[in-house]
């Protein structure tokens, strides 16, 4: 278990915005700004943050969807995939997969479920002949809780939860090492959400796959993950095992996040830390600690330099220059 599958090293992704076609003007959005972490084989790493925190960008960079990262390395099973071209990546595609947020747009409406699931097998020459491939499809459908007969149907004939299962089936049919679930349950109704979360856990149990689970819902992330990373404005501000983080967050932003999350219990303790204002623009982030402008504990020192991610307890990292703070959860 303690063997890294992915090592992310000083990874950054910057976008130019509002620039004219001559390449002048505009600004630079630091969607992801110099992050480093490791994902262990077989673990589920949760990644939480509010919109604009860069969590989805991280997920896509680890899969190398889109362009090369601006800087940094992504070592996937010993290979740096950051600088590779899409063509070079093609063989590796069998080993890493993505589960999408929107169960409606992630399945090609013009293809049957069978065709959708067979495609990866055909492309990578797996699964033998047609009959064997269809057996494999049936098998996977069964694994995700659908009937083999569903292979002949089109995606629009399924409900959102069922489609998400099909998406998961496509992701796992090649038995990949690494899955990114990008807000995979956010669009689902609560009752269905639990089904999918359970399914993912089940798959991990059976296949030993490594998962990066991206979500904005702390509760769901906490439920599914082994470790959780909290992102704010393109940076990881805290990274810790679930138990440790949920018992005692060490970064004021995590504390605020926990306190803001509504708890479905009317008798719960409701002392909350209300953050003021909005997340600053990633075009022009504050100096030093990006969170200092909204932080209740900010001191002048926070503006000076960007705090590094420091190990404050075993395996518990936080990027805050005030490790002495006694922060509460919820």
């Amino acid at each position: 278990m303690d063997q890294p599958l992915l090592e992310i090293d000083h990874l950054s992704k910057h976008y130019a915005v509002g620039r004219s076609w001559l390449g002048r003007g505009g600004g630079l959005v630091r969607a992801v700004d110099d992050i480093s972490f490791v994902i262990q084989k077989g673990e589920i790493l949760g990644l939480v943050g509010e919109s604009g925190s860069g969590k989805s960008t991280v997920g896509r960079m680890l899969l190398r969807l889109g362009d090369q990262p601006t800087a940094g390395r992504v070592d996937f099973a010993g290979q740096d995939i950051a600088p590779m071209s899409q063509r070079q990546l093609r063989p590796l595609r069998a080993r890493m997969q993505l589960i999408f947020q929107d169960p409606y747009s992630s399945l090609n409406p013009k293809m049957t479920v069978g065709q959708i699931l067979e495609a990866p097998l055909r492309i990578h020459g797996r699964g033998g002949d047609r009959a064997a491939r269809q057996r494999k499809v049936a098998e996977v459908l069964d694994l995700v809780g659908l009937r083999p007969g569903h292979a002949a149907r089109y995606p629009h004939e399924f409900s959102g939860g069922q489609r998400q299962r099909i998406g998961i089936a496509r992701a796992i049919i090649l038995e990949p090492d690494f899955l990114v679930a990008d807000e995979a349950v956010s669009a689902l109704d609560v009752s269905v959400q639990a089904q999918v979360v359970s399914l993912l856990l089940e798959i991990r149990r059976r296949m030993g796959v490594t998962i990066l689970f991206i979500a904005h819902d702390l509760a769901v992330v906490g439920y599914i993950s082994d470790r959780v990373a909290v992102m704010y404005l393109g940076r990881i501000v805290e990274l810790a095992p679930v138990a440790s983080l949920y018992a005692r967050p060490r970064h004021p932003y995590s504390e605020a996040l926990f306190s803001a999350a509504p708890v479905p219990d009317p008798r719960a303790n409701r002392q909350r830390i209300l953050l003021e204002g909005d997340v600053p623009s990633p075009l022009n982030p504050p100096s030093g600690c990006a969170f200092r402008t909204r932080c209740a504990y900010a001191i002048p020192g926070c503006a000076a330099a960007r705090p590094p991610l420091a190990e404050l307890a075993p395996g518990h990292f936080a990027a805050c220059i005030r490790p002495e703070l006694e922060l509460r959860r919820g």
Binding site: G18, S20, W21, L22, R24, G25, G26
Partner: protein, 316 residues
């Protein structure tokens, strides 16, 4: 804003360059040539024709001719007509007013009528009016304009001599009423198409806006329906129409050409057709380039106006 304009202008220049390449090579690679018009002059000889060709520079290699033409264009010299040896820009200039008058009048008319039809159609969606307006617009888009023009001439000029069948004014009169009188038929023909397009766009823009959340908000405020329509729906529906207007310029120009040929209107379309007949390359090229400039500037203007009218847009 200035940077946006600058960048758009640069882009337009690039486009114009491609336009000039397409136009030039289409013209000059095609068979036939400007000499043919002189070939039938009594007493014309081959030798003489060759000499004329040489003096007009037609015997030089095509890229040389293109370069020559382009480099003059860059300093504002659009060349000279083969036909009347006047500067091309001056010729276009002298035909521009007629075309602008026709286009302007019909566009204005079409916008007023089309907006009205479109808005009404959207408000009373699926009503008889909407249905008739839809069918009417489809037929309007389908009628060959030149034929419609011919029929209009037959009916309103020949059978019932209400309107003149051609020209822009009576020589020696040229009063406002005289212009207006001549304008009626060509304007009618050109407006037919434009109204159809405009009302269809307006209707769908209005329908789009009516499904927007902020309309529901306006209703939830308890505002009277006419305020919701005018202040909230129409204001937002008309915005994209500015762009539509910009994009319609080539269509309207094409329509103007048709109307001008049918009604012998002394505008750019007529000039273009005559120049084509005479193989007056510089003028044909000039009109093509000019209309491209017109189209590009129109689009640019539409975009700028749109940005001015829509607070969401910042030109950068």
């Amino acid at each position: 804003m200035m940077r946006y304009l600058g960048s758009r202008l640069l882009q337009s220049i690039l486009l114009l360059w491609i336009v000039s390449l397409i136009g030039f090579f289409v013209l000059y690679l095609a068979p036939g040539g400007p000499l043919a018009q002189f070939a039938l002059t009594p007493g014309m000889t081959q030798e003489q024709l060759a000499r004329i060709a040489h003096q007009m520079g037609l015997d030089r290699p095509l890229p040389v001719q293109y370069w020559e033409w382009l480099s003059r264009l860059l300093i504002g010299d659009w060349g000279q007509s083969y036909r009347d040896s006047q500067p091309v820009l001056a010729i276009i200039g002298s035909h521009l007013f007629a075309t602008l008058l026709l286009m302007g009048a019909s566009t204005l008319l079409a916008m007023i009528i089309g907006t009205w039809i479109g808005v009404l159609g959207a408000i009373r969606r699926y009503s008889i009016f909407d249905y008739l307006a839809t069918i009417g617009a489809m037929i309007g888009l389908s009628i060959p304009t030149f034929w419609f023009g011919l029929i209009a001439i037959y009916l309103f000029s020949v059978k019932l001599p209400w309107f003149p069948a051609g020209n822009m004014y009576t020589v020696g009169d040229a009063s406002f009423l005289d212009y207006a009188h001549h304008l009626v038929l060509p304007c009618l023909v050109l407006t037919l198409v434009t109204v159809a397009i405009w009302s269809r766009y307006m209707r769908s823009a209005m329908l789009d806006v009516q499904g927007q959340d902020f309309i529901r908000t306006a209703r939830a405020k308890g505002l009277p329906e006419h305020v919701v329509l005018r202040k909230h729906a129409m204001r937002n529906a008309i915005l994209p129409m500015i762009t539509v207007a910009g994009l319609q310029i080539p269509t309207i120009l094409s329509g103007a050409l048709v109307a001008e040929t049918v009604f012998t209107w002394p505008g750019m379309g007529r000039l273009f057709l005559d120049s084509l007949n005479y193989r007056d390359y510089p003028v044909v090229m000039g009109v093509l380039m000019f209309s491209a400039v017109f189209v590009l500037l129109g689009n640019l203007l539409a975009d700028v106006l749109y940005a001015v009218a829509d607070p969401r847009i910042r030109l950068t």
